[in-house]
C-alpha cells in the first residue's frame, strides 16, 4: 500500500526543474553585502556558526600551545603569572563557551531542517540574531583580551577572588557581561530549536523517527532554558557587586562565596552535557551509516540522551565536595553523578553492538567516531572516579581533573565534531574531503590527544595542582609535563592537517554527489550543497531510514519526490508535536536587517555598561526596543500562515519557552534569597519584615491588570476591537501605577542596596521584576498601537495572546516575589 501523502490545501506535485526555479526565486539570498547581512537562511547562518566557532577553537588552541610551552619544563619564565592566568582563563572560556557549544549550534542550524524535512528553522530571524549575538559576545571578550583586560579568574570565576577588592579593572566585568550576552544568544537559539522540533517536522517524521542528533539537541535546548538563567543570575550579582557596591558573595555583609559556586555549577554541570550530548548524538547517527546497520537500541539511546540531560541538573555539588558540605549529602550527589554512567553505558553498548553486528567501512568519519568511543570511555570512567567523594578530596583541583575535562571535551566534543565535518561537509560544499589526509588527520589527533592528556592523570595522582603557572623541578613532575606538551603539539599538527584538508577540498575536492556514503537519512536525499529551499516538495516520512527503505523493507515507505509544494512565498509545513500530522502551512519570514540591528543595539548597550557610558546604554536600549518592535511588526509572511486545525502557533510555543526560562531566572533569584537567609548570622531581614502598607494595594493593582488583560483578550476573541483597545489601555495604566507605587516604596525604605546582602537581594529581585513589568508595558504599548491600526481580528490575534501570556506571567512572578519577600519573613 502506498504511503498516504498528507493533505495540505496545496497542490501535490512531483519534483521538476520548473518547481526548482520557482522555489529558488522565493528562497535565495540576494547577492551583495545587504543580502549577506540580512539573510535568514539557516544554512548560511549555520556555516557562519561553524566558521566562527572554529576560529575560536584555533584561538583557544594557540593559547593552550603557549601554556604548554611554559609548562614543558619546570621553573620557566616564558610567561608572567598574570599572563598565564589570563591565558588559562581565556583558553577555558573560549573552548567551553565560544567553541564547544556554538560549533554544535552550527551543525544543528545547518542540518536540522535537512534532517527533519523542513525549509528553515521555526524562527529564522531569531536564528540570525542568535548568531550575531554570539559573534558580538566573542568579539566583546576578545576585544577585552586584546586591550589587556582578559578575564583572569578561571572559567568558573570563583568569588571573592573575582570580586571588586581582589580583581579591580575591567577583566572580570568583561567576563560577566560577555557571558550574559552569549547567554542571550544561546537561549534564543535553544528556544528556536525547541519550537522547530515541535512544529516544523515533515509529515510522518514522528518523534520515534528523529535522528539521535535531533533528540540530543532537543534535550540540551531544554537544559539551556533552565541552566542559563542560573549563570545569568550569578553574573548579574557579580556585576552589581563589582560596579554598584551590592553584596551577594561578601560574608562580611551577609553574603556567601558559596552562593556563586552553587549558582555557577547549577548552570555548569548541565552545561557539560549541553556541549557533549549533541556531538554524542552525531556519533550515534554516523556510526550506523558506516556499519551499514540502523542504530542498535534506538529507543534506548534516545531515552538515555534525555535521561542524561535531566540527571545533569541533580549533580552540581559534584564540583564542591571539598567546600565543607556534609559528607552524607556529598555522597548523595556523588551517587547521583555516578547514576549518569547508566545512560552513558546504554549508549556505549548500543554503539558496540552496532559495530559488532555490522559491517564497518573504515572511512574517515567512522574513524573519528570509533576513536570517540574509546575517548568517551576514558572520559566517562575517570569522571566516575571523581564522583567517589573521599577520593575526590584528593583528585579535585589536580591535573587529574584537567585530564578528565579534556577527555570529555576533546573526546566527546572535538572528535565527533571533526568526524561530523568529514561526514557532512560534502553535503554543505558538494565536495569530499581527502581520505588519505583524513586518516593521517585522525591518527595524529588520536595519538596526540592520548599522549597529551593521559599523563595528566598521572600528574594529578602525583599531586600536581591545576592552574599553576610553573612548578618546581625535581619533585617528579618534569617528565610527564614534557610528554604532555609534546602530545599537545602532536594534536595541534593533526588539527592543522584537518584545516589543510578542508582548504584542499574547497579548492579541488572530489564532487560528492547527493549521497556519497550511501547513508540512510533524509538530508542525503537533496543535492549537495542543498538548494536554498532544501526540498522541492515537502517529503512524507515513513521510517527512520528513508533512503534504505528499499533494501531494509523491500519497498519504499517514505515519499520524497512527490508532495505538497507550498510555494506561495516562503512556506513550509507545520505538523503536530508527537506524530507529525499536518497542522499548519507556515509562512516564513523574508530576509531582514532587523536581527543585525537588534544585535548591534544590544551589544552597544553592553559596551555602555562595561564602560559606564550611560548615554550609550540609553541609545542601545532604545534602538534595541525599536528594532525588536520593527522585527515583530507584521509583514506579508503572516498572511501566508494558514492553520489547518487550530493548533498552537510557533509564536505561542516560543512565548512559552521564553516564560519558562524567565521563570527559572526568578526561581534562581528567590533561591539565592532563601540560601543567604538560611546562612545568615544576623537577623533576616535585618530591620524586620518590610512594611505591607504600600505593597498590598500594589499587589492588588497588578492582579487587577491581569483581569483587564483577560477582558481585552476575550474582547478581541468575540470580535470587539473597542474592548481590546480599552482593555490594553487599562492594563497599561495599572502597570504604570504599579511601577510608580514601587518607586515610592523604594524611596520610603530608608535603606540602599549596598547596606547588606538582604538589601541587595530585595532591590535586585524587585528591581528585576520591575524591569519585566516595564518590558511588558512596552509590549502592551506596541500591541495597543497595532490595535488602533486594526491589525487584530478574532482569527488574527497571535500577538495579543502572546503579550497576554507574558503579562500574566509577570503578575504570577510577583505573587512569588511578594510571598518570599513580604510574607515569609513574618513566619520566621
Amino acid at each position: 500500500m502506498a504511503t498516504q501523502i498528507p493533505s495540505f490545501p496545496a497542490s501535490v506535485v512531483t519534483e521538476s526543474r520548473e518547481i526548482d526555479e520557482r522555489l529558488e526565486r522565493i528562497w535565495e539570498t540576494p547577492p551583495g553585502i545587504v543580502g549577506q547581512l540580512s539573510t535568514v537562511d539557516h544554512k548560511i547562518i549555520g556555516k557562519r556558526y561553524l566558521v566562527t566557532a572554529f576560529l575560536f577553537f584555533i584561538l583557544g588552541g594557540l593559547e593552550a600551545a603557549v601554556m604548554r610551552a611554559q609548562l614543558a619544563r619546570p621553573e620557566q619564565h616564558l610567561l608572567s603569572p598574570e599572563a598565564y592566568n589570563q591565558l588559562f582563563t581565556m583558553h577555558g572560556t573560549t573552548m567551553i563557551f565560544l567553541f564547544a557549544a556554538p560549533i554544535l549550534s552550527g551543525f544543528s542550524n545547518y542540518m536540522w531542517p535537512l534532517l527533519i524535512g523542513s525549509r528553515d528553522m521555526a524562527f529564522p530571524k531569531l536564528n540570525a540574531v542568535s548568531y550575531w549575538l554570539f559573534l558580538a559576545a566573542g568579539t566583546f571578550i576578545y576585544g577585552g583580551a586584546l586591550t589587556g583586560h582578559a578575564p583572569d579568574g578561571g572559567w568558573f570565576n570563583y568569588t571573592p577572588l573575582t570580586g571588586p577588592q581582589y580583581s579591580p579593572g575591567l577583566n572580570i566585568d568583561i567576563y560577566a557581561l560577555g557571558l550574559v550576552l552569549l547567554g542571550i544568544s544561546t537561549t534564543v537559539g535553544a528556544i528556536n530549536f525547541i519550537v522547530t522540533i515541535i512544529k516544523l517536522r515533515a509529515p510522518g517524521m514522528s518523534i520515534n523517527r528523529l535522528p539521535i542528533f535531533v533528540w540530543s539537541t532537543m534535550t540540551i535546548s531544554m537544559s539551556i532554558i533552565f541552566a542559563i538563567p542560573a549563570l545569568t543570575v550569578a553574573l548579574a550579582f557579580l556585576f552589581l557587586e563589582r560596579r554598584f557596591g551590592f553584596h551577594f558573595f561578601d560574608p562580611g555583609a551577609g553574603g556567601s562565596p558559596l552562593l556563586w559556586q552553587h549558582l555557577f555549577w547549577i548552570f555548569g554541570h548541565p552545561w557539560v552535557y549541553i556541549v557533549v550530548l549533541p556531538s554524542i548524538g552525531m556519533a550515534s547517527d554516523v556510526i550506523p551509516q558506516f556499519c551499514r546497520r540502523p542504530l542498535a537500541g534506538y529507543a534506548f539511546v534516545a531515552m538515555a540522551t534525555v535521561a542524561t540531560g535531566v540527571l545533569g541538573f541533580g549533580v552540581w555539588v559534584h564540583h564542591m565536595f571539598a567546600t565543607g558540605i556534609p559528607p552524607i549529602s556529598a555522597t548523595f550527589f556523588g551517587a547521583a553523578g555516578m547514576l549518569i554512567s547508566i545512560p552513558s553505558g546504554v549508549s556505549v553498548f548500543a554503539w558496540l553492538a552496532t559495530i559488532y553486528y555490522g559491517k564497518p567501512v573504515f572511512r574517515t568519519p567512522f574513524l573519528f567516531m570509533a576513536g570517540f568511543i574509546a575517548l568517551f570511555v576514558i572520559g566517562g570512567v575517570n569522571g566516575v572516579m571523581t564522583a567517589v567523594v573521599p577520593f575526590d578530596w584528593q583528585l579535585t583541583d589536580t591535573y587529574f581533573i584537567v585530564a578528565h575535562i579534556h577527555y570529555v571535551l576533546i573526546g566527546m566534543n572535538v572528535f565527533p565534531v571533526i568526524g561530523a565535518f568529514y561526514y557532512w561537509l560534502p553535503k554543505m560544499t558538494g565536495r569530499l574531503l581527502n581520505e588519505r589526509l583524513g586518516k593521517w588527520n585522525f591518527w595524529l589527533m588520536f595519538i596526540g590527544v592520548n599522549v597529551g592528556f593521559f599523563p595528566m592523570h598521572i600528574l594529578g595522582l602525583l599531586g600536581m595542582p591545576r592552574r599553576i603557572y610553573t612548578y618546581p623541578a625535581g619533585i617528579g613532575w618534569d617528565t610527564s609535563n614534557l610528554i604532555v606538551s609534546l602530545g599537545a603539539y602532536l594534536f595541534a599538527i593533526g588539527v592543522l592537517l584537518f584545516i589543510i584538508n578542508v582548504v584542499i577540498s574547497l579548492r579541488s575536492g572530489q564532487p560528492a554527489g547527493d549521497n556519497p556514503w550511501d547513508a540512510s537519512t533524509l538530508e542525503w536525499s537533496t543535492s549537495s550543497p542543498p538548494p536554498s529551499y532544501n526540498f522541492a516538495v515537502i517529503p512524507t516520512i515513513g521510517s527512520r531510514d528513508p533512503l534504505w527503505e528499499g533494501r531494509l523493507f523491500g519497498k519504499m515507505k517514505s515519499v520524497l519526490s512527490r508532495g505538497p509544494l507550498l510555494a506561495e512565498g516562503r512556506q513550509t509545513a507545520g505538523t503536530s508535536m508527537l506524530d507529525a500530522e499536518p497542522q499548519f502551512i507556515l509562512g516564513m519570514p523574508s530576509d531582514t536587517l532587523w536581527p543585525l540591528i537588534a544585535a548591534a543595539s544590544l551589544s552597544a548597550l553592553f559596551v555602555g555598561l562595561l564602560l559606564s557610558a550611560w548615554s550609550l546604554v540609553a541609545v542601545g536600549g532604545v534602538t534595541t526596543f525599536v528594532s525588536v518592535a520593527g522585527w515583530l511588526w507584521p509583514r506579508a509572511e503572516m498572511a501566508r500562515t494558514e492553520s489547518l486545525d487550530g493548533g498552537r502557533s510557533s509564536g505561542w510555543w516560543g512565548t512559552v519557552c521564553l516564560i519558562a526560562t524567565e521563570a527559572a531566572f526568578f526561581a534562581y533569584l528567590l533561591t539565592s534569597y532563601f540560601y543567604l537567609a538560611s546562612r545568615s548570622t544576623f537577623a533576616w531581614p535585618p530591620a524586620g519584615p518590610p512594611s505591607l502598607r504600600l505593597v498590598v494595594p500594589n499587589t492588588l493593582i497588578l492582579l487587577a491588570s491581569s483581569g483587564t488583560m483577560i477582558w481585552a483578550d476575550r474582547g478581541i476573541r468575540s470580535g470587539s476591537r473597542a474592548r481590546l483597545r480599552a482593555g490594553l489601555l487599562l492594563t497599561f495604566l495599572l502597570g504604570v501605577v504599579f511601577l510608580a507605587i514601587q518607586a515610592i516604596e523604594y524611596r520610603s525604605k530608608g535603606t540602599v542596596p549596598g547596606d547588606n546582602a538582604y538589601s541587595s537581594l530585595f532591590f535586585t529581585i524587585t528591581g528585576f521584576h520591575g524591569a519585566h513589568v516595564a518590558v511588558g508595558l512596552l509590549m502592551i504599548a506596541v500591541t495597543s498601537v497595532r490595535a488602533w491600526l486594526g491589525h487584530f481580528s478574532p482569527e488574527k490575534r497571535f500577538a495579543v495572546t502572546n503579550v497576554a501570556l507574558y503579562w500574566h506571567f509577570v503578575d504570577a512572578v510577583w505573587l512569588f516575589v511578594f510571598t518570599a519577600l513580604y510574607l515569609v519573613p513574618r513566619a520566621w
Binding site: Y158, R292, Q394
Partner: protein, 335 residues
C-alpha cells in the same frame, strides 16, 4: 590500616615510583591518615576503572577487527543488540555504582575525624600567598605563630581549623589528607595524622590569583619529644642582640618598613600583614616554600621580592649594602 593492606599499597606505590616519579607528593603513596583510607579506596576505583576501560576497548576492537564478508548492503540491526545494552549498559554500571557507593559510605565513616580531643590543635590562616600557622595555647603567651611550616608529632592526631584571610584557598597535604577549602566566612576544619617522620609537601589547591603556584607549605612530622622541643622553642621571645652588627640590623628592622608588616616578638614589631618572623631562621624555606632559607635567597628576597614572586605583598626594599648586611645578620639570629 592493617599490615597486609599497607604492603599492598607499598607494592602499588612502586608502580608510580617506577614511572620516574620518586619523591612526588603522591596521594596514592600516603604516609598517614586520612590519606591512607582515601588512597585504598582510590586504588580500588582506579583498578575497577582500568578493568572497565579495557573491557570496553576489547569489545570495541573485537567489533572493529572481526573477520566478515564485504557485503555492505544495509540490513536490519541484530536483535541480540539488546542483550549488549542490558548487560553492558545497564547491569554493569549499576553493579559498579552500588559497590562503589557502598565502599564510599564505609570510607566516609573511617575518614571522619575521630571523636575526642586531638593531640594538637592548629589554626591555619590562608593568605595570598602564604600560610599562617597558629598553635593555640592555654594562655595567650603560650600561643605559637609561624608560617608555611607546620610541625606535628608523629602518630599524633592534629585538628586543623581553616580560616581565610582574603579569597578562597584549599588546604592540601596530599600524603596526609585530602583537600579542604578555606572559605571566607565559613568555618571549615580538617584533621591529619602522620604515621612516619618526614617532611610532607602541602599546597594551595584552589586558584587564588597571581601567585597561586607559589603557595606551598610543609608539614614536618617529628617524634613527639622533638615536636615538644620545637614548640617550646617557638614560644620564646627574640632576644635583643648584643653584637653590634646584629644590633644595627635589629634597629633597621624596627625603624624601616619591615616592622609595619611583620611581627617579631621581643623587637616591638607588631605588623600583621606578612608572616611572623620571630623564629625565621629556624624555618627551612622562605616565600611560602618557594626558596630554601639561605642568606643569599633572603637577601635577594628583601631587596626585590617582586622579581622573584611577582605580585607578592612584600615590596621591593632597596637598601644600602651595609644596612642589608646588618639586617641579614640580625635575621639569622632569629632561631
Amino acid at each position: 590500616m592493617t599490615q597486609m593492606s599497607t604492603t599492598r599499597l607499598g607494592t602499588v606505590s612502586l608502580l608510580l615510583i617506577s614511572l620516574g616519579c620518586a619523591g612526588a607528593p603522591s596521594f596514592m603513596a600516603p604516609h598517614g591518615a586520612p590519606a591512607d583510607t582515601e588512597a585504598s579506596l582510590g586504588w580500588g576505583v582506579t583498578i575497577v576503572a582500568i578493568v572497565i576501560t579495557l573491557l570496553v576497548f576489547g569489545l570495541l576492537l573485537l567489533g572493529l577487527l572481526r573477520r566478515r564478508d564485504y557485503d555492505t548492503t544495509p540490513k536490519h540491526a541484530s536483535n541480540r543488540s539488546i542483550v549488549w545494552i542490558m548487560v553492558g549498559g545497564v547491569l554493569l554500571p549499576a553493579v559498579v555504582l552500588v559497590v562503589v557507593t557502598g565502599f564510599t559510605m564505609r570510607t566516609l565513616h573511617v575518614v571522619a575525624e575521630p571523636a575526642g580531643n586531638a593531640d594538637v590543635r592548629v589554626q591555619v590562616i590562608a593568605h595570598r600567598w602564604w600560610w599562617e600557622i597558629k598553635y593555640l595555647g592555654a594562655t595567650p603567651d603560650l600561643m605559637v605563630v609561624t608560617a608555611n611550616e607546620m610541625h606535628i608529632p608523629v602518630h599524633g592526631r592534629v585538628h586543623v581549623e581553616l580560616i581565610a584571610a582574603d579569597v578562597i584557598h584549599s588546604f592540601w597535604v596530599p600524603q596526609l589528607a585530602g583537600k579542604m577549602d578555606v572559605i571566607p566566612g565559613q568555618h571549615n576544619t580538617t584533621w591529619l595524622r602522620a604515621d612516619s617522620a618526614g617532611i610532607y609537601r602541602g599546597e594551595c589547591a584552589e586558584f587564588c590569583g597571581a601567585q597561586h603556584a607559589h603557595m606551598d607549605f610543609m608539614v614536618v612530622a617529628e617524634p613527639p619529644a622533638a615536636f615538644a622541643n620545637w614548640l617550646s622553642g617557638q614560644r620564646t621571645v627574640a632576644a635583643v642582640p648584643t653584637d653590634s652588627l646584629d644590633l644595627a640590623g635589629y634597629n633597621t628592622f624596627r625603624v624601616s618598613a619591615c616592622a609595619a608588616c611583620h611581627t617579631i616578638r621581643g623587637a616591638d614589631a607588631f605588623g600583621k600583614v606578612g608572616p611572623e618572623l620571630t623564629h625565621l631562621a629556624s624555618r627551612r624555606t622562605i616565600a611560602a616554600g618557594m626558596l630554601p632559607n639561605t642568606r643569599g635567597n633572603l637577601a635577594a628576597w628583601i631587596v626585590n621580592a617582586q622579581s622573584i614572586k611577582p605580585g607578592v605583598g612584600m615590596p621591593a626594599l632597596p637598601m644600602a649594602a651595609a644596612q642589608e648586611q646588618a639586617l641579614l645578620a640580625y635575621l639569622s639570629t632569629l632561631r
